[in-house]
């Protein structure tokens, strides 16, 4: 069994509608499966909850980016005008902070946006040119009109025949083995 497992990434079921997929995910979780993933052509409402996904790290990374952009932006302008090249123009204050706000604001937005996008990609481990799920011939429909559930071999409850039978019981369109290479 161990020998066999190393060549199998998981078992994948294909559904016609988002509702069927959400139902299937709920059933799989009830059955005790945890290591699984669903693949959909658009974000399906209720699917994240059914999968038991908690809050993600993207908002926190975005906050850090915004803080870095804002504090860095203001700090830099302060340093330029007060420390690096102080210029006395008619006795006006060197730290004329209201004039620094527009650039501070823009850099806050820039830092937060860059972190939101690149943080999201990094957490998703993208770019990742290949993945075992692409080995399934029918998986091209995952970017069009079909909804997939893949129970992965690393799940402790995974058993090739049993899991395939379980998925078959959810009345999918197809059930496929997903090979690892």
């Amino acid at each position: 069994m161990e020998q066999h497992r190393s060549h199998i990434y998981g078992v994948m079921a294909e559904f016609d509608t988002p509702a069927e997929l959400v139902h299937a995910v709920e059933r799989a979780r009830e059955a005790g499966y945890r290591r699984m993933d669903a693949y959909t052509p658009f974000p399906v409402e209720g699917l994240s909850e059914a999968m038991g996904l908690k809050r993600n790290m993207v908002p926190f990374i975005t906050l850090l980016g915004g803080l870095a952009g804002g504090l860095g932006g203001f700090g830099f302008q302060y340093w330029v005008n007060v420390v690096a090249y102080p210029l006395n123009v008619g006795g006006r204050p060197l730290n004329s902070w209201p004039a620094f706000i527009p650039v501070t604001f823009e850099l806050t937005v820039l830092g937060a946006s860059l972190c939101a996008v690149f943080g999201m990609l990094a957490l998703n481990r993208l770019p990742q040119p290949n993945h075992p799920v692409f080995n399934v011939h029918r998986f091209v429909h995952a970017s069009s009109d079909r909804f997939f559930l893949c129970i992965e071999a690393r799940d402790p409850k995974f058993h090739l025949v049993e899991t395939a039978r379980f998925l078959q019981g959810l009345h999918p369109h197809h059930v496929n083995e997903v090979s690892d290479d």
Partner: protein, 461 residues
């Protein structure tokens, strides 16, 4: 609302003017939109349009090349009118960009379903408009190869940019705006690029779209973070878009020139930007839906809503004109009063009247339901508003600068053939980029259209 009339959001009203034509499924929207890029043969009309636009881009290249050889003296600018076409066009283009961000970010936060089929090309329009806008201040510096002076970098001279200057705020606002718009657009494209990768038949297309899609596989964990990132970007882009034209208006409002030094400029500029941007979205949407048969996706409901936004922002702009006028009179300041007199009776008065005609009077026709539902009228109206908003910037820049405080500093401004060549050339570049965009990328977000199919089919149940 009178009694007996169904509420505006009721299913009856929605069925009468849908945001999506009837009978569409996940597969049909996917095939319809991706086929424009992948399987549909490139039409003769596309080549003709592209050839014309690309020739105009060539005109721009020549105009800019000659400018770099000879310097800004080939333009009509002089002292005291140092700004001229370059700044008029810069403000016009950057304003046009604003509608794209408004549609993709603000309407997203407000959960407006009609945004779905127009946000992608509106965002593309934003990017291309910002690209056109960016050219003008760059070449207006006279030595564009020194443009990096505007960015803070540790130079051997130990000098830094003047962070108290609105022109430096502009550099940061516009470059941030360009970057965030590009990110927003690209994030929205990722799932669609995966669709194109999976639908492409030819090997080069598979490889190129595959690389751009970065291995997107639609995993629920990915969507989970993707949606967070998209929502956050929308939330960040909303104050950003308002800040950009505010900063652009500071270029004027911080100066003490009569007609510029007024506190109404930021809101009035932002409203004007959205006004002209929606006009440009209509200018693009109407031929696009016709050429590619997208009437099911870009429905009359979309055109109607955009016309209403145009009408509303046009009224804010009208309010801005009125208060500009009123505050000058109320101030009793002789320079401000003189400016009003110059706008109404000066050498550039025809431009001012044309502006009132284009931006205030003509758009009032949009109150009529019938005219809002007449595609030809809407298209012509959008052109009129585009022209009007260009005239607005011309009036602001030229009349104020030609009639400064002392008569010895008065002057006249006459654009030269090179001014026109550069301006028309950027329009060519904008259209060229749009032609390329509709040919190689999905002009409508496929993933979001599928979401719309899911939502509308649920409503019907």
């Amino acid at each position: 609302m009178s009694a007996g009339q169904p509420p505006l959001d009721s299913p009856e009203i929605r069925r009468l003017t849908p945001v999506l034509g009837p009978g569409h499924t996940f597969g049909s929207v996917t095939d319809k939109i991706s086929s424009i890029v992948l399987t549909r043969p490139t039409s003769f009309g596309w080549f003709v349009g592209f050839a014309i636009a690309f020739s105009l881009t060539g005109v721009m290249t020549i105009a800019i090349g000659w400018l770099i050889i000879k310097g800004v003296g080939i333009w009509g600018i002089n002292i005291p009118i140092g700004w001229g076409f370059a700044i008029v066009n810069f403000v016009w283009w950057i304003g046009i960009g604003h509608a794209g961000t408004l549609i993709s970010a603000i309407l997203f936060l407000l959960n407006q379903k009609w945004r779905t089929s127009i946000n992608r090309f509106a965002e593309a329009m934003t990017l291309f408009a910002v690209a056109c806008a960016g050219i003008f201040p760059l070449i207006h510096t006279g030595r564009p190869w020194m443009a990096y002076y505007m960015f803070p970098y540790p130079s051997t001279m130990g000098l830094w940019p003047q962070f108290r200057s609105p022109l430096i705020w502009d550099v940061f606002a516009v470059s941030t705006y360009g970057t965030v718009s590009a990110l927003f657009w690209f994030v929205g494209l990722i799932p669609d690029l995966a669709t194109l990768r999976d639908h492409a038949v030819k090997k080069p297309a598979q490889i190129i779209y595959g690389m751009l899609a970065m291995g997107w596989r639609g995993s629920v964990r990915h969507w989970h973070r993707y949606q967070s990132a998209y929502l956050l970007l929308a939330g960040l882009a909303t104050p950003l878009v308002l800040s950009v034209h505010t900063v652009v208006s500071f270029d004027f409002a911080i100066a003490i020139v009569p007609g510029w030094h007024t506190t109404i400029f930021p809101p009035y500029f932002v409203a004007g930007a959205i006004y002209s941007g929606f006009a440009m979205v209509l200018t693009i949407a109407i031929p696009l839906r016709k050429a590619y048969g997208l009437e099911d996706f870009i429905t009359m409901r979309h055109l109607d809503n955009m016309a209403k936004v145009m009408l509303a922002t046009g009224l804010i702009v009208a309010y801005g004109y009125f208060f500009e006028f009123f505050l000058s009179l109320y101030s009793g300041q002789k320079f401000d009063l003189f400016l009003v007199q110059q706008r109404l009776h000066g050498p550039y008065a025809p431009y001012y009247y044309a502006l009132i005609l284009c931006n205030i009077l003509t758009p009032q026709l949009l109150w009529s339901y019938k005219l809002r539902h007449n595609v030809v009228v809407l298209f012509l109206m959008s052109i009129v508003v585009n022209v009007g908003m260009w005239l607005e910037r011309f009036v602001i820049v030229v009349i104020s600068l030609t009639r400064d405080f002392v008569p010895s500093a008065w002057g006249r401004y006459q654009p030269t053939v090179w001014d026109w060549a550069t301006f028309i050339g950027t329009i060519g570049m904008f259209v060229t980029l749009l032609f390329l965009f509709v040919r190689v990328l999905p002009a409508i977000s496929i993933a979001e259209m599928r979401e719309l199919v899911a939502e509308t089919s649920e409503e019907e149940k």
